[in-house]
């Protein structure tokens, strides 16, 4: 008791205070320890990927086609191109719908339909991506009678919509009403006000949303398994099965060949560098726009 340096209360109370303080110390320490452990786990995971990936990565990895089973060497150039292609296709679908849907919710969203839409956006964000893959299979693959980059892009595009819509709504609501009023007062139409005044003011935040969405879908594998399907060769038509980096990592990771496993690590390193850079850029864009977005997911 005396070590705590408190005024001397009646003895039982002092013992209780000691016990309360001890519990406080123990629990506070526990919170700190758990946090440190989690950060250590993160460091171990990222560190392991960096070390294993860096030792397997080389120039061929970026420019060569995959070699057949047994042959050492080769790369995943077609998968890198395929991932870029899929992201572009997905963006064509997800970006306009996400942003314009966000505009509706933020600017005209004072009605039950908008409430339902925003609720459904949350629901859509919670649907497992593999289920979206089945949807894309039924809607695109079955009618076309073959796997295709289009089907993969369609699935990824759907996954992008709720993320972009959510960030867009958040940022559009932060645009001051006075800006809109000033524009309207100058005689601008509602459309011109939104397109030329409100959206430009919100560009930073919207770009953030788009980049977060890209970072999220770039590593998606499950919805591509039976839409883009994968490919060992170059494929430049969007209506044919195409390779993608996450699919290639999956195939190599579960293979029994050391050379393929090494390529899976290299691919993982490329993928997380891509994803983390995109997330960081998104975060910096938000900081420069000096508007807090709040929670992203």
């Amino acid at each position: 008791m005396s070590t705590l340096g408190v005024a001397a209360p009646p003895r039982p109370a002092g013992v209780r205070l000691l016990r309360r303080r001890l519990l406080d110390r123990v629990m506070s320490a526990l919170l700190l320890i758990v946090t440190v452990l989690l950060l250590l786990l993160l460091a171990v995971i990222v560190g392991y990927i960096v070390v294993r990936g860096a030792s397997a990565i080389n120039f061929d990895f970026f420019v060569q086609l995959p070699k057949p089973v047994g042959a050492v060497g080769g790369g995943v150039a077609n998968a890198l191109l395929g991932t870029v292609e899929l992201i572009l296709l997905a963006s064509c679908l997800g970006v306009p719908i996400g942003i314009l849907g966000g505009v509706y919710l933020a600017e005209f969203g004072d009605n039950p339909v908008a409430d339902l839409v925003s609720f459904m956006a949350d629901v859509l964000a919670g649907i497992p991506s593999i289920v979206i893959g089945i949807f894309a299979y039924a809607v695109v693959v079955i009618p076309m009678h073959r796997f295709s980059a289009l089907a993969g892009g369609f699935a990824l595009g759907i996954l992008m919509v709720p993320i972009i819509m959510r960030t867009s709504v958040g940022i559009l609501r932060l645009v001051p009403a006075t800006l809109r009023e000033a524009s309207l007062a100058l005689g601008a139409s509602e459309r011109a006000t939104i397109l030329r005044v409100v959206l430009p003011a919100a560009t930073g935040g919207i770009v953030t949303g788009v980049m977060l969405a890209i970072a999220r879908v770039a590593g998606e594998t499950a919805p591509l398994l039976f839409t883009a399907f994968g490919n060992e060769y170059w494929q430049f038509s969007v209506d044919k099965a195409t390779a993608a980096l996450p699919l290639q990592i999956f195939q190599y990771a579960i293979s029994p060949y050391a050379d393929w496993q090494a390529k899976a690590w290299a691919g993982s390193l490329v993928l997380i560098v891509l994803v983390v850079l995109t997330s960081l850029m998104a975060r910096l864009a938000t900081r420069n726009a000096s508007v807090g977005l709040g929670r992203q997911r």
Binding site: A106, D122, L225
Partner: protein, 337 residues
């Protein structure tokens, strides 16, 4: 509908704008502007409605495509434990069981972990450290599932096989849950990898919920002489309880839908094993593994029905979670607690 706070326009701003719009419309009355405005409004409305179309579309497609399986097996699909594509006998019970066990393991591991980190970040960490630490936690969420799977195969599984599972079996081996040979891969590995992946969800949402606890609650407790832990356990946690439960339910939704990493470490086996060391499959992993190879219509249709189960469960969990989190975030939780 409880959705207004999340997306609805902030009342005062928009009523002003709406009023300004009406005045201007009456004053100017520009025809061309109005036609363009209506067109633009309709365009944005259509984009918003696309969300509804997709969710409804997914539901309709899943029901239609699984029609053959629904018709052939009916409700027994959910309780039948045979999965034999050759004999054309299909029951989803092993996968439902696998999803339940892996999710349970994941929640048992991730909930205390995530909650502790969220509490440290909001209540105890030095202020300059809070943002970077939170970013570190979010980084865990940014790593793609397939990369977790790779890490799981080559790091987690060997550790489980050579250290964790023998130790658990040695100490608690008399329980059926911890009995049997240590393969490394299996339900426990699946649960562990999911736990790592849902921790960021629990942290992020618990942080929001805890941040929504009014500062006055904390100050009142401190003023009464409470220690920091007493403030957390007596003021912060009770106030945020329903929101934290919401965070856990949302994490459960993610756990059940998690596909790639689980597929890679769970062992892909159609048996029901009482032990967490046993091999298994989840609803999501069986689709990932077998969908592209399902040749005949009945097989494919059963896999779509597995997807339908997954869809139904995650939607229900998400709705429950949102309602729980909203109650706190909207600030009227004080009235009900």
């Amino acid at each position: 509908m409880a959705a207004t706070t999340e997306y609805g326009p902030r009342g005062s701003d928009v009523t002003l704008t709406e009023a300004a719009r009406d005045v201007l419309r009456r004053a100017v009355g520009s025809r061309t502007g109005t036609a363009g405005d209506v067109g633009f409004r309709v365009l944005t409305l259509l984009c918003a409605l696309a969300i509804l179309a997709v969710v409804l579309g997914v539901a309709v497609v899943l029901v239609l495509q699984s029609g053959l399986s629904l018709h052939t097996f009916g409700w027994s699909f959910l309780v039948n434990r045979t999965w034999d594509p050759v004999a054309k006998k299909f029951g989803a019970l092993p996968f439902i069981y696998g999803s339940v066990v892996t999710s349970a393991v994941a929640l048992i591991l991730a909930t205390p972990l995530g909650l502790a980190v969220a509490l440290y970040l909001t209540e105890a960490a030095p202020r300059p450290l809070r943002a970077p630490l939170a970013f570190g936690a979010e980084l865990l969420a940014a790593i793609p599932s397939v990369v977790y799977g790779l890490w799981g195969i080559f790091v987690l599984v060997p550790v489980l096989r050579s250290v964790v599972e023998p130790a658990l079996g040695h100490v608690l081996g008399f329980l059926p849950v911890f009995s049997g040979p240590a393969y490394g891969v299996g339900l426990l590995a699946g649960g562990c990898i999911i736990a790592i992946m849902i921790v960021p969800t629990i942290i992020a949402i618990s942080r929001d919920v805890i941040a929504a606890v009014p500062q006055a609650q904390r100050e009142a407790a401190y003023a009464l002489g409470a220690t920091r832990w007493e403030v957390i356990s007596g003021a912060v946690l009770p106030f945020g309880a329903s929101g934290i439960i919401g965070a856990v339910v949302l994490a459960l939704g993610r756990a059940i839908g998690e596909t790639m990493a689980v597929t890679m470490v769970i062992g892909n086996n159609h048996d029901i094993s009482a032990s967490v060391f046993g091999l298994g499959d989840t609803l999501a992993s069986v689709i990932a593994n077998e969908f592209a190879e399902a040749a005949d219509r009945l097989y494919l249709s059963t896999l779509v029905e597995v997807g339908l189960v997954l869809f139904g469960v995650t939607i229900i969990l998400n709705i429950i979670a949102r309602l729980l989190v909203w109650r706190v975030a909207r600030g009227n939780v004080g009235a009900t607690v």
